[in-house]
Amino acid sequence: MYAYDELDRQIVRERVAQFASQVERRLDGSLTEEEFRPLRLKNGVYLQLHAYMLRVAIPYGGLSSRQLRQLALIAEKYDRGYGHFTTRTNIQFNWPKLREIPAILGLLADVDMHAIQTSGNCIRNTTTDCFAGAAFDEIEDPRPTAEWIRQWSTLHPEFDWLGRKFKIAVTATQQDRAVLRGHDVGVRIVRNAAGETGYRLYVGGGLGRTPMEGKLVRDFLPRAELLGYLEAILRVYNLEGRRDNKFKARIKILVHEIGLEAFRAQVEAEYSKVVAAAPAPDLREFERITASFDAPDFADLPEVSRKLEQAQAADPDLAQFVARNLFRHKKKGYVALTISLKSIGGAPGDATAEQMRAVADLAEQFSFDQVRVSYKQNLVLPHVRRDDVPEIFAVLKAQGLATPNVDLITDIICCPGLDYCALATARSIPLAQTLSRHFADPDKQKEIGELSIKISGCINACAHHHIANIGILGLEKSGGESYQITIGGDPGDQYALGELLGPGLPASAVPEAIDRVIGVYLDARRQGETFIETYRRLGVTPFKAAFKEIADAVA
């Protein structure tokens, strides 16, 4: 993990005091609600359907056991004993009181955490691959780059009042596990022909009302130039992005309206001025950050763990868990282990304080004190010895955290929807629970194979429904909740937006509609084909036809 120095600590402390003063000035009337709102949002405080909500930053999804325990403490002391992990790899508390939030921020500061820029029209939490630092296929650990961006973007005086929010993701692998093309800026760590490590930048991706795919703006940027180039992108966006319509204010609309070439020309022109005005960029800070990510002291282990193999042979549940929840580690004998927060019938992404503590204990004992949050709303123990998997599995099982469903149909991404969110047009959690129960049978899940369902409670698309294999969007239709279904979306290298199957359905008809869609796939699939592969081969037409029968029946 990145280790805070005294300066990092001080700025977070000062930010807490600043927020406390903002709360005071709101309560004494110095600040109107209209003025306070953007200020509280920049510190992660929303006023939601039932109460305030606090979104705490988990930079690039990394937590230590101490930090996770502190989140558990906050959940118990100031909330209702649980938290919700989001697709931006943050955590949300749903019931804090405004006057207690400064105290919560103080507890966060105690463990080098904060809620800075987790909302508002500014640069948000930078996200990355949940297997960063562990993945077998990465060029390098992307987290130092993400931390470099975090520091540069934190309390940036010029880019705090953008036209709209701004999200950056970083990845260092061929396989995109960070939804790079769904971000305002996607940063891919690459090597050029000369063997130098640098960055490939995509710009203008995003979901929401007008989903767009990020476009390649710079094929190779030398490492030292990253922050200068980001500064140029942000300045062009801040000056040129639309301010007249909040639905057209994201950078994706600017890129779309003026065209990639014109946008690139503006950025390059601005960048040349940035370069001319600033001293030559250097890598000292990047190197300092990199050094502070102490590399775990991995042991030399055999590739295969006899212990794990024997345990699997004796316990089919463990075998199933191993088959689904482990990811290949760069170090022999280790794995990255995913803890699914998608128990059958549970609220996706929710964890109780007790579960957080159990995971913290496991991380401390078995994973070099590290936990990661994935955008799929699961947790990851990134550095686990194969030998230790049976013991970890036993603890997880006792905590209801051993669901062996990673990337299967019940590993549903789901936003809070109308059960919490003030912007929602329909509920999403109850539908996720229904679908999770509907597809609970492990054999059925295995038969269907990898398939992502993502449910958003409004067009903002926090659950990424556009890029789900099966995406569900909750809307209001004639005074009731209605769910639109899209299929064929893909968040990764073959980035694709889903196609709408037809009119919205009531929640009660959704499971059957999905059954039909899956029926088309199971009938037509060739050996080894996943849902998305069959979809790509067949196109949307047969799925639409099957869907129509259900839609007609309820119409």
């Binding site: 709101r26 309560l27 004494d28 009337g29 609600e33 006023l47 359907l49 039932h50 109460a51 305030y52 209702r80 019931w95 804090p96 009181k97 405004l98 006057r99 609220a347 109308l418 059960d419 919490y420 929602a424 509920r427 959690i429 109850p430 629970q433 005074g479 009731g480 909740e481």
Partner: protein
């Protein structure tokens, strides 16, 4: 949320407590967290009185986002017609152990 057009009667006034954040309803006197104690306005005059109360309380930094919500009276209790507002009187629908539904056994 600005009230553009006044909803049909009867109505109640819903807001959030500024300090607590909790959803509250204008009562006969002051505010209540329990929708069953909400003051119901059946005509324009009563609705306007509610709105004025809400605006004054917002100016006094007691509440935020005060607006009228149209209800039906079921067994003497005001029930919002819209599902979103109904949820605000109850709590999260998948967690019956939380929110007003738990506090007041609604």
């Amino acid at each position: 949320m600005a009230v553009v057009k006044r909803p049909p009667f009867p109505v109640i006034l819903v807001a959030n407590d500024l300090v607590e954040g909790e959803v509250i309803f204008a009562a006969e006197h002051g505010w209540t967290r329990d929708v069953r104690a909400a003051r119901v306005a059946n005509d324009a005059e009563a609705a306007q009185a509610l709105e004025q109360f809400g605006a004054a309380q917002a100016r006094a930094c007691k509440v935020v986002d005060a607006y009228l919500v149209d209800v039906e009276i079921e067994a003497g209790v005001p029930v919002p017609r819209h599902y979103r507002e109904r949820l605000r009187t109850l709590g999260p629908s998948h967690r019956l152990d939380l929110g007003k539904q738990a506090d007041f056994h609604l």
